[in-house]
């Protein structure tokens, strides 16, 4: 029995020092200057624009990546195509790529001095220091989440029902809509939650390609850093708090949607 309490103390102490303590401290620090100053900080147009831009990027990235994530999972699990293993390795690759490298890669391809970027610039298309670059960076870092959640579910449900439906003459689309999709819905939902969390909170990859124009290419995470460097801790904490609130919303959605326990993700 004592070892049980010892383990509990270790686990809770660790969580307290590493997660709960710092988060509680940030909450306290945010409001130590009064609610009014927090309100002032989040009523700033620069903040509001950053919030808008962050939501815009997420609104572009989440649907696109969800669609392609489901498609990827179907191809990897259901279709018998060559190079499938390579495809699934490629899908995992972004998990092992530093956000900074993502930003660097986009600068190399789309920067004004890059081959492709030079051509785009001549045609008046700006990718780096503009929204397209930030969207591309976020797409990259969010690629694996939906597919990684859906692939194991697809493996588990097997193909019996789908084949039965096919024997009865259902089309591919009907099979997908009536049989496959309901079965993978929970997995997709959890993948969407992870994608949204990462899209809203991405910093490193976006920071390198954004140019940090306040009121134009500044996302919430970059705004947090900008306020920090302006010695405006209330502003930095307030923006962090809004990000954390968004994260918490997502994170409760995560708990509601976390699929029944399965092997390690």
């Amino acid at each position: 029995m004592t070892s049980r309490y010892a383990l509990r103390a270790i686990a809770l102490g660790y969580l307290g020092l590493l997660v709960a303590g710092p988060v509680a401290m940030m909450l306290w620090a945010t409001f130590s200057g009064g609610v009014a100053s927090v309100w002032e900080a989040i009523a700033r147009p620069a903040f509001l624009h950053a919030l808008w831009l962050t939501l815009l990027i997420a609104a572009i990235v989440v649907p696109l990546n969800t669609l392609f994530g489901i498609l990827c999972a179907l191809v990897v699990v259901r279709h018998d195509v060559r190079g499938k293993r390579l495809l699934s390795a490629l899908l995992d690759l972004p998990l092992g790529v530093s956000p900074v490298v993502v930003g660097l890669a986009l600068v190399i391809v789309y920067g004004r001095r890059g081959a492709f970027g030079g051509w785009l610039a001549e045609h008046g298309v700006r990718v780096i220091f503009a929204l397209p670059g930030m969207v591309l960076a976020t797409l990259f870092v969010c690629i694996p989440f939906v597919a990684r959640e859906v692939i194991p579910v697809l493996r588990e449900i097997g193909t019996e029902q789908e084949q039965a439906a096919r024997t009865l003459g259902a089309s591919d689309w009907q099979i997908f809509r009536l049989i496959t999709l309901p079965a993978i819905r929970a997995g997709v939902g959890f993948g969407v939650v992870l994608t949204a969390a990462r899209a809203l909170g991405e910093y490193g990859a976006v920071a390198i390609v954004s140019g940090r124009l306040t009121g134009r290419t500044e996302t919430l995470t970059i705004h947090v850093e900008e306020r920090f460097l302006a010695f405006d801790m209330t502003g930095a904490y307030a923006a962090s708090l809004v990000l954390a609130a968004l994260a918490l919303t997502i994170f409760f959605a995560m708990h509601a949607r976390r699929p029944a326990p399965r092997g390690g993700r």
């Binding site: 686990a11 190079g83 092992g96 530093s98 391809v109 904490y237 092997g263 390690g264």
Partner: protein, 284 residues
């Protein structure tokens, strides 16, 4: 993925032969595969290939020179060393936390369980800021670890916390307890039972969590950048080094360091794929 997949023995290791009737499959599959490949290439593969190409744009000699400058080597070895240390701590503490969350029962357990996901949900820059609030110069505890290697470790521990816990938890939950009960009935101590009966079942999950955690830690940027001070030879990690090379207009050197990080991650992901296949085969 690992041990628990046994519950659905139906999962076909080899695809069931399909009737290719009606010819519908014949175009849908290649089309989907083509679309997915094109998408992945455009978003992931081409940019990464560009980094690799760029890293040797001035020849191998300058690639080598860029990754072997003392400052870069220091940053790479700090990232490598800190990631290994953090992953080792995660393996132990993460397993303990998973154990406590699954086998223990106490008020507030669900809150503790929810806390585990927080590092996934919280943006990295916010993670750094929260750690700075408690452990920085103005922190209430009177400890100031800002701009030390301790701070780098803390940030990495924070962002990698969920990996091992979330990998081990479900395996532990589904583990058949009869063997454990038999062992303790035969007089084995709790520790012995854990070591001989439980742990072997957890190893694949722990390894997978460690692998993902390492891949995350080795390239971590956002949570480290505010709290580490980015001091060369001291607290500058590889990702910060890459960023500063980009800012110094030294894109080729940045690409060279990036390639080293990519190679480490790639080797790791391949190794993890092998471990996973191995453990799936052993389940069957």
């Amino acid at each position: 993925m690992s041990a628990t997949a046994v519950s659905v023995g139906a999962a076909p290791a080899a695809p069931v032969p399909r009737p290719r009737a009606g010819g519908r499959r014949s175009w849908a599959a290649p089309l989907a595969a083509g679309a997915v490949t094109a998408w992945l290439s455009a978003i992931v593969l081409i940019p990464l290939a560009a980094v690799v190409v760029r890293s040797t744009a001035d020849g191998w000699a300058s690639f080598w020179a860029a990754v072997t400058t003392p400052q870069t080597l220091a940053a790479l070895s700090l990232s490598l060393g800190a990631s290994l240390a953090v992953v080792a701590i995660n393996a132990v503490v993460g397993t303990i936390i998973a154990w406590v969350l699954v086998r223990d029962d106490f008020p507030g357990q669900s809150v503790a369980n929810a806390l585990i996901d927080l590092p996934f949900a919280l943006p990295t820059i916010v993670a750094g800021l929260t750690l700075l609030a408690l452990y920085g110069v103005r922190g209430p505890l009177g400890v100031n670890v800002a701009y030390t290697r301790v701070a780098v470790g803390l940030a990495l521990l924070f962002v990698t916390l969920p990996f091992v816990v979330r990998a081990v938890q479900p395996v532990l939950a589904e583990l058949d307890r009869e063997m454990e009960q038999a062992a303790s009935a035969l007089g084995a101590s709790g520790a012995t039972t854990f070591r001989l009966i439980v742990l072997p079942n957890l190893v694949p999950a722990i390894l997978s969590g460690m692998g993902l955690g390492f891949a995350r830690a080795i390239g971590e940027f956002g949570s480290v950048v505010l709290i580490s001070g980015n001091i060369p030879f001291e607290t500058e990690v590889a990702a910060v080094r890459i960023a500063s090379q980009v800012e110094n207009d030294n894109v080729t050197a940045a690409a060279a360091i990036a390639v080293v990080l990519l190679a480490i991650s790639l080797a790791l992901l391949l190794a993890m794929g092998m471990v996973e296949r191995w453990s799936r085969q052993h389940d069957q």
